[in-house]
Symmetry: C2
Subunit: 363 residues, 2 copies
Amino acid sequence: MRNRVHNFNAGPAGLPITVLEKAQDEFINYQGLGMSIMEMSHRSTPFDDLMKQVDQDMRQLLNIPDNYNILFLQGGASLQFSMLPMNLLPKNGSADYIVNGVWGQKAAQEAHKLGNVRVVASTEETNFDRLPDLIRADLDPKAAYLHFTSNETIHGNQWPEEPRPLNDVPLVCDMSSDILSRPVDISKYGLIYAGAQKNAGPSGVTIIIIRDDLLEQVPQDLPVMLDYRLQAKKNSMYNTPPSFSIYMLSLVLTWLIDLGGLEEMAMRNARKAGKIYQAIDRSKGFYRGHAKTEHRSLMNVTFGLPSENLENDFVKDATEQGLVGLKGHRSVGGLRASIYNACPIEAVKTLVEFMSKFQGEYG
Amino acid sequence: MRNRVHNFNAGPAGLPITVLEKAQDEFINYQGLGMSIMEMSHRSTPFDDLMKQVDQDMRQLLNIPDNYNILFLQGGASLQFSMLPMNLLPKNGSADYIVNGVWGQKAAQEAHKLGNVRVVASTEETNFDRLPDLIRADLDPKAAYLHFTSNETIHGNQWPEEPRPLNDVPLVCDMSSDILSRPVDISKYGLIYAGAQKNAGPSGVTIIIIRDDLLEQVPQDLPVMLDYRLQAKKNSMYNTPPSFSIYMLSLVLTWLIDLGGLEEMAMRNARKAGKIYQAIDRSKGFYRGHAKTEHRSLMNVTFGLPSENLENDFVKDATEQGLVGLKGHRSVGGLRASIYNACPIEAVKTLVEFMSKFQGEYG
């Protein structure tokens, strides 16, 4: 494996080694065409074919109905925090936000700059160690949309299934850190957005899945680059798209299809996360999970040790042994193992062995 | 050269072969760190070092004074068409636009959605075959800024030197298709922006050079991703940057420094363009340049043939001989040879030989 480390980065994150090797192999001469994919006109037939293939593979993997458009834009989820209300929150309307972490909070703050926003449920009080209980949430039956974050990278919580909006309020989801990690019933959603750099590819491309009827609500005269309707009409190529990021995404999609699709991926992800959570739960309190058991993320395992000194030692020793990216986000502290799609079970096994050995030494 | 073609694409365009080879070489294991640059956290030391190096190399190559910030954002020049007025065109102000091609026109149209815009000079009447004469232009001495496009890719015209604004009106330039192709006196500008995918790297990253004092004029409460001041404060890393595109840009900058910098590059570019224009001028009217002689672009050579049929044959024969990307943009027609920094003199010589042979056969 060419001295590759075990990569637990939260994003940008590891990519499948076979994907990297394929990209490396045709890096200078894409499909025998005498140039790199990144040197090619986005108006050329080979690039157009690539865009069509990515659209088709996304539809196949996520079983996306025909009345949804898939866009490939730039700027990450953070730009979507603003594009979303620009496009779908009318001046006289209001949008509901469920906040189960820092990303959901930022989404609500950005939307608030542009229109009326109600935070209808939040678990900030307990540092987002759980998902909010929606039973007593005051959902607006006339909201422009209901927004949630399916997986909170920093705190390590994840919705086992999506919240249900009232009436036909469109459900909107920031799926940046768990898109393509499991099957999703797209028909329950009005709009999904996701930066690619965790489960889907490198940074630089943002995936948007949007239902047809919502495009009709987009106001006139938005800036072209921030207009969902125009981007849909132009097949995400109003201007030059981030070609290479889209190309890498295409290789990841092929890899997912080849390994059996999202059912298989979900099983693998559950198995990987299960191993680490088991190690935590069996450690007699040496390792302490941040998120409540039933709201644990299968993507980001957040946990702590009895002291900050021990946590620092853990990161240091792990890094020396080729286990990288385990330091937790400063707002939660402790440790975090991000185990997205591309993280192989072998890396997880190595980590679990390391955890056991570390506990043996310091526990 | 691994069967590489001669690449005359208008953008995305060819990259230096040594740059591609270096990237390919360390594609899976960047600097021996056991992962690809695109799998690395943007908060890690190696990535931070890369960002600092890019900033430093840009400053060295373009001799950028200390009171300018360099940003690396997403969305291409088209997003800048909107970000610029959002940040620098106050509600009660007005901006002047000089229009010497389709890109300048789009820049003005997008700004017009957000504020008061005056097109102070345009050569649309003659299908942008020349630069406008500014002597009789009604420049606003109180304009928020004066905007121009240094090189118009589609029409093939280029400003030999920048227009001079009145008083201290900040000069703003879309430099997408000639940045880093020649030395520029940055101190004459308030803001420069450029998509990277022509002279500077692959698509997916946009370079912005902005003078300190203009950041102070940015209004409060812009969307974070569209706020120059915030992006400057966060060193272009409010969220995950387009890592791989920035990395490729860094390799191109190193390549430019190694070959002797922008004086040398400008000399090479003038020599390349000179050869093709000479072939046009000596063809006794068989080849017809689109742009007026004194406004010709050194980046995009636009020309036609006596008939559309001949033009189609030209493109077809050239492609068969490994000269690709020569079809002109539909709004001008004819042919276009884009000969950015990375296009080697050998490709230009091959093209000129082909032109001579083609004329011999069909002229």
